[in-house]
Amino acid sequence: MAAIRIHDLCKSYGDSEVLRSINLDIEDGEFVVLVGPSGCGKSTLLRLIAGLEAITSGEIRIGDRVINDLAPKDRDVAMVFQSYALYPHMTVRENMSFSLKLRGMSKDRIEAAVQAAAEKLEIQGLMERKPRALSGGQRQRVAMGRAMVREPKAFLFDEPLSNLDARLREQMRYEIRKLQRDLGTTSIYVTHDQIEAMTMADRIVAMHEGIAQQIGTPADLYDNPANLFVAGFIGAPAMNFLDATLVPEPQTPGNASLSRVMVGRERLGTVQHTQAARQDGRVTVGIRPERIVVGAPSSSLATQIDLLEPTGLGTVLHLRLAGQRIKVFTTERLEVGVKDAVSIAIVSSDLLLFDPDSGVRLR
């Protein structure tokens, strides 16, 4: 077990930069999730830490050792691959003991370590099987077991659940997290699934175009996204974005510089004026679907229903507000249909403002 420190890490293939100046401190025992769309560089970052790709510039430390130039075998990290990468010609037992054999550990100790891991993962009955005779979930467990037996300084997970069906994924999510807490091993987990990231992480690194857009706890990223990318990527149903204009309120004594947020002719709310906004007042307004109240009687906005999506837990309403589309999530059972008019209410403090060009959060 060890902390992992990544300093100013860059990676490029020829002229194309895949990772740009990544800085990340991972504490001992922490579970960090790298999340982002495909091609964002998250897997590359993991492979750099594993030593499977060469670093272009920057530094990676595991514990107090700089590992930039160490071979993968000397870094003492274990990886769980998306394909599981179990050795097809070896039994489960052989798969799990392979790394210990390479280390020249004695037979008894190998047997004990493998047995302990097998018990923890409840795969004792599968030990003499070959990988091809295992189901997806069982392979997943064996891959975990192979990583565990070595007691490495860190676990690296490369989208380990993406080949499983939804139900099994939910279960394995829980098991991986629980196992990691029990073992207390520093872990880095790559996924494109923001739900996996939200449910598993101590901290999330949201990545896009080779840049760590925001690093923080799941709640941080959800409530205080740093930019449009993070706001749109985290959360399902995704955050609403509306083109809006800030119109300064007439100055009155004791009512310092407020601005109205206008979408077409509709007033969404009133916010403190921000200097960072563009001169013409154009902004992108973000609001989470579940923060919008449906059917509020007064001081509300008139909308029309485009589509209803029942999810069981609640309903997603696709509405049209001043010509723009907006989603609302509610757990109330509503007696409404498509084309009906509904009124919605928004609390001003729930409005997030972004610069429409740079995507940077203004408020």
């Binding site: 394909s83 050795y87 097809p88 070595r150």
Partner: protein
């Protein structure tokens, strides 16, 4: 429905039978002539099976000709060529499959070019090269030439087998504590056994049946291989078909034995590459 199934089954097997008969007929004829006594060979006309059979051709080939020597030479040359070519092709194929390096494009291209022109063109230069080195009239010379000719194709063959094995497996092994060579030996090689067997078989048969270079480079009978030896049964005025065919049947044996030995790996196919599922 039932009837249609039967008909399609019958057609299937009829076509297969036609193909098998077509492919095996020359071998059958080889066997038939090899056991036909000389006096019946021309006397009986064309018959599927002679009225009398004999093993005298086999006896005289084994006891009174140099064929056992040729046979031994062929085994040495073909086996050595197969082993060297496969070793080199495995290393080269792995390199092409797994590494990006400067000049890779040109090396692969040049290797392909070597396969493009007829070997007859280079007999004279090869002879001129090998003669001063003392490699004509020598089995070593043949092994070198055969290996050189077989390595390019064998490398492409091996590369395709390596390509079928996911990189993840080596990477997992390297993270498990193996260096690249150990990962190759303990993970990749066991999974490529069918490919190794196919390559061995391919090179072995190519070297076993090669005539042109064996004939041109080696003139002494001490270093002749069996295809050259077969020509010895053709004399100025007659061809001893009986003995020639008997020698031919004997020459088939090692190849048959070899394939019996490796067919387990050949039919195992490429399923080794299927890791996901």
């Amino acid at each position: 429905m039932e009837l249609q199934g039967k008909w399609s089954w019958a057609l299937h097997y009829f076509l297969l039978a036609v193909f098998v008969i077509f492919a095996l007929f020359p071998l059958f004829w080889l066997l038939k002539v090899s056991i036909t006594p000389n006096d019946l060979l021309y006397g009986e006309g064309v018959r599927l099976w002679p009225s009398r059979s004999t093993f005298e051709h086999y006896a005289s080939v084994i006891a009174h000709s140099q064929f056992p020597l040729f046979f031994r030479n062929s085994v040495i040359v073909a086996a050595t060529t197969a082993i060297f070519s496969t070793l080199l092709a495995t290393a080269a194929g792995y390199g092409f499959s797994r590494f990006q390096f400067r000049g890779k494009y040109w090396i692969v291209g040049l290797m392909l070019v070597t396969q493009m022109f007829p070997l007859v063109m280079i007999i004279a230069p090869i002879f001129r090269l090998l003669k001063p080195l003392g490699l004509t009239n020598s089995l070593t010379g043949l092994v070198i030439v055969y290996t050189a000719f077989n390595v390019p194709f064998a490398s492409f063959l091996m590369q395709s087998f390596f390509d079928a094995i996911p990189k993840d497996l080596e990477e997992a092994a390297m993270l498990d504590g193996a260096n690249r060579f150990a990962a190759f030996r303990r993970i990749i090689v066991p999974l490529t056994l069918p490919g190794l067997a196919a390559t061995l078989g391919f090179v072995f048969t190519a070297a076993w049946s090669e005539l042109l270079f064996a004939l041109m480079l080696n003139s002494s009978s001490a270093t002749s291989t069996f295809p050259v030896g077969l020509l010895a049964f053709v004399s100025k005025f007659s061809v001893d078909f009986g003995q020639m065919m008997a020698a031919g049947v004997l020459a088939l044996l090692p190849v048959c034995i070899f394939f019996v030995f490796i067919q387990r790996y050949l039919v195992q196919g490429l399923t080794a590459g299927a890791v996901k599922g």
